[in-house]
């Protein structure tokens, strides 16, 4: 027996000619919290899938568990038997089952003949929900939940299991601060109980806070495994990207005339009496806690929900949108926070996903679409957004999470909008790419595009917004110039 819970050696994983992992080794001690870090598409999720038997690595690999079992590749049930559980990045939940059934799904697999007693199940589920100190209704269908809540369901699910090793692939990406904090508390408690946790997150502060060691991957290669003690965010991002990443505050800018103005916008139960204006070239930050009405306002501006009262003026003219189609035609683009469901058509090719918003414009003569024009458009955006794509004809679902986010951005930028609404545009995006995305956003603003940036990350708003609105309970609580406060103060104001 060793004090290792898991040892994976010489893992090489190929998809066609493309190697997602090249000879990577990884080990995990009992009770350790270990971070897997690296840029989007470097192979973090792929490594997790190999260790769980979803993919079969090339010969020569070795995967061994604390139990002594060791093999060249394993099956999902091997992994389960060794107490390996995963919170998948794409949240493998069952939309047609209830919260309670999702959380306890493993028991259905373990004992298919056992009658499903509901009382005991409910008690267990309620216990977990209480432990996490979160708000979830065990009887609700998961299909009716928001992504953040689905994330919580996925977390509860591994907590119910009798796990020895838990992989968490970006579990905090869509959580609020309070939920994140209670998750990190749970992670520490699990580790104290001898359970090993592998934690993936692009929020480096979090990583350094909770993990003991960090393994860094770059382009499928192992960079190394380091203790987090004495590691700084700066050093870690340099290891991940191979470059120094730093973002300058935006500084004072000059703007054009008003592009979009909102007067007294109200939608019952969501937000009330919201008024603001954004000028050409301006980046307006819209922030507040989850449920404060940020996304709801965006959906109304985008024509997906109707306002009960108030007015939207586009370049001085009142507009009213019957659907998002009208909004797109008027020059509004909305990059959704829920890229998995709303942003992309997962089983369609990367090319088709990029071109879907502009099919009519690309058709020339009308109705006829030349495939070469589609791929031209796609390649140019892939290059502009520095997206890692092995072949644009593959379905978008093979892209890593962060690269999918860039395709969503590309798809909306292709419409050449006047007003671009970005809803949590950097969720799950790595540090280097975040900087890349904001560079693009700033360039877009410089061309006269108006940008509404929705985010609950104080640092993002602080560095990139020209002006910031803080929402509270569906109303504008405060308007301020980020340059007037420091980041900590802004953070405090958002979470107050």
């Amino acid at each position: 027996m060793t004090d290792y819970a898991l040892k994976a050696e010489n893992i090489t994983q190929k998809f066609g000619a493309f190697s997602a992992l090249k000879n990577v080794s990884f080990d995990l001690k009992v009770g350790e919290v270990h971070c897997l870090a690296g840029e989007n598409g470097c192979g973090k999720s792929t490594l997790i899938k190999v260790i769980n038997g979803v993919h079969r690595p090339e010969p020569g690999a070795r995967i061994g568990f604390g139990s002594g079992q060791s093999a060249g590749h394993i099956t999902p049930s091997d992994a389960k038997r060794n107490g390996v559980h995963v919170i998948w990045q794409d949240l493998a939940v069952f939309p047609d089952l209830t919260v309670a059934e999702n959380i306890t799904f493993d028991s259905f697999v373990a004992s298919p003949l056992k009658p499903v007693g509901s009382r005991d199940r409910k008690r267990r589920v309620n216990e977990i929900i209480a432990r996490l100190d979160i708000d979830l209704d065990p009887d609700e269908l998961v299909g009716n939940l928001s992504i953040a809540k689905r994330q919580l369901v996925a977390i509860c699910r591994v907590l119910d299991a009798d796990a020895k090793i838990i992989f968490m692939d970006e579990p905090t990406a869509s959580l609020t601060r309070k939920e994140t904090e209670s998750l990190l508390r749970i992670v520490r408690r699990l580790s104290a109980a001898g359970i090993s946790v592998v934690f993936v997150s692009h929020r480096l502060a979090e990583v350094l806070d909770v993990c003991e060691r960090v393994t860094v991957l770059r382009d499928g290669n192992l960079v190394g495994t380091y203790p987090t003690e004495g590691m700084s965010q700066k050093k870690l991002s340099k290891l991940m990207t191979g470059m120094d990443v730093h973002e300058e505050p935006r500084g004072p800018q000059t703007f054009g005339e008003t592009a979009i103005e909102v007067k007294g916008l109200t939608r019952r139960g969501e937000f009330a009496d919201v008024s603001f204006a954004v000028r050409r070239g301006e980046i307006l930050g819209l922030t507040g806690l989850m449920g404060s009405g940020r996304t709801e306002i965006a959906l109304t501006l985008f024509g997906m929900n109707k306002a009960d009262a108030g007015q939207i003026l586009l370049e001085g003219k009142p507009v009213s949108f019957g659907s998002n189609k009208d909004a797109i035609a008027a020059g509004i683009a909305y990059v959704s926070e829920d890229r998995l469901n709303l942003g992309l058509i997962q089983n369609q090719s990367i090319i088709n996903n990029t071109a879907i918003t502009v099919l009519d414009d690309l058709a020339d003569p009308p109705v006829f679409l030349a495939p070469s024009r589609l791929s031209q458009l796609c390649t140019s955006w892939i290059a502009r957004l520095k997206t890692k794509v092995s072949d644009p004809r593959l379905p978008v679902s093979v892209l890593s999470g962060g690269n999918q986010q860039r395709i969503v951005l590309a798809k909306w930028l292709a419409t050449n909008p006047k007003v671009l609404i970005l809803d949590a545009p950097t969720v799950g995006v790595d540090v280097g790419a975040k900087a890349g995305i904001f560079e693009i956003v700033r360039d877009l603003a410089a061309t006269g595009m108006s940008i509404i940036l929705i985010s609950d990350e104080a640092s993002e708003i602080h560095t990139h917004a020209d002006r910031c609105l803080i929402l509270r309970n569906g109303r504008i609580h405060q308007q301020l110039d980020p340059a007037d406060v420091d980041e900590e103060k802004l953070e405090e104001l958002i979470n107050a």
């Binding site: 999902p76 995963v86 493998a92 028991s107 009658p115 969501e270 997906m304 929900n305």
Partner: protein, 332 residues
């Protein structure tokens, strides 16, 4: 309470109550024990089909070959028994199960092993089964069925002023299949695995669900139900006509979808399937009693299905009702 009423089953119960109330007032023969018993005797075969089909739909598949599979089972089993002096119920039941399950497993094998979409596979086997049956039988019906199959077996009688109303064996068999299927789907881990697999196959795979087994079970169970339904149908009509069940699959599919099952998988219940069959049966019976052309029935079925599905989707169509933002489809 409100939730229960708005569920597909709740809506069906209300509809059934309304239709029954109307028919009891508007017609003479409807609200009689005799009519109710006739309905049950006549619908038992359809209900057995329906509970089998609901398992396949919940697992995310579809099968349209089951009714001709039932004809194959009838024909094979009865012709074989006639060559060995008629046999008895026990041998017949055993053979029925074996042949029925085999036909279902053939579908499962093609779907799972060769990754062909279930609708395509079962369109194929539908033609294969039916073509082979008609070709090999020459389309000939079997009228001289064994005695044990010919004589009705009463399981429950109710004394009336004149004579009595009786429920026969198929109703009992139907009840057993309903309870058994309902139990498996809603009360066992296997049942939840079937819902999970239909709801998100990828997630199910990663959770260690044995996908081959789940699919084999779903199609095998429908094959079993189809075989049993076939035997019961032969018992009721006292003959075996090779094309008698041809086309029945769409009626059953309609009833099951009306009962809340969806073609994408993950949803549907045995209760819903039974209620779906019963509602359509009541309407057919009522139109009959009212002396209205049978073609009107087809129209009514169409209207009911379309409106039921529309009503069910209303909460998704009206953004206000959905609690979560962005549940409506965003597209361009």
């Amino acid at each position: 309470m409100r939730k229960a009423l708005l569920s597909p089953e709740g809506i069906l119960v209300v509809l059934i109550a309304v239709v029954s109330a109307y028919l009891s007032v508007a017609t003479q023969g409807f609200a009689t024990v005799q009519n109710m018993f006739d309905l049950l005797n006549n619908q038992s075969v359809n209900i057995i089909f329906a509970v089998g089909l609901v398992v396949v739909l919940v697992s995310g598949g579809i099968d349209i070959s089951f009714s001709v599979a039932a004809s194959v089972v009838q024909y094979v089993v009865i012709s074989y028994l006639l060559t060995i002096d008629g046999g008895n119920w026990a041998i017949a039941a055993l053979l029925t199960c074996v042949v029925g399950i085999s036909l279902g497993l053939l579908n499962a094998l093609l779907i799972h092993r060769f990754r062909i979409v279930s609708i395509i596979v079962t369109i194929g086997t539908f033609n294969l089964f039916f073509g082979l049956l008609m070709y090999l039988s020459g389309g000939r019906s079997i009228y001289s069925i064994p005695d044990w199959l010919y004589s009705r077996i009463p399981v429950f009688s109710y004394e009336l002023e004149r004579g009595s109303a009786t429920l026969y064996l198929p109703v009992l068999v139907m009840a057993v299949m309903v309870v058994l299927t309902g139990f498996i789907l809603s009360r066992t881990g296997l049942g939840r695995q079937i819902y999970g697999f239909g709801s998100n196959p990828d997630a199910a795979k990663r959770s260690g669900v044995n996908v081959a087994f789940v699919q084999a079970f779903a199609y095998g169970w429908l094959g079993l139900c189809a075989g049993i339904a076939g035997l019961m149908q032969a018992h009721i009509v006292r003959e075996v006509v090779p094309n008698a069940l041809y086309g029945r699959e769409l009626d059953i599919l309609a009833a099951v979808v009306l009962g809340g099952a969806v073609l994408g998988g993950g949803r549907g219940t045995v209760t819903g399937a039974v209620l779906g069959v019963m509602l359509l049966a009541l309407i057919q019976n009522g139109l009959n009693l009212l002396g209205i052309s049978p073609f009107v029935f087809k129209v009514v079925v169409g209207v009911i299905i379309l409106s039921a599905i529309t009503v069910r989707n209303l909460d998704r169509l009206l953004p206000k009702l959905s609690s979560v933002n962005g549940k409506g489809e965003a597209d361009a």
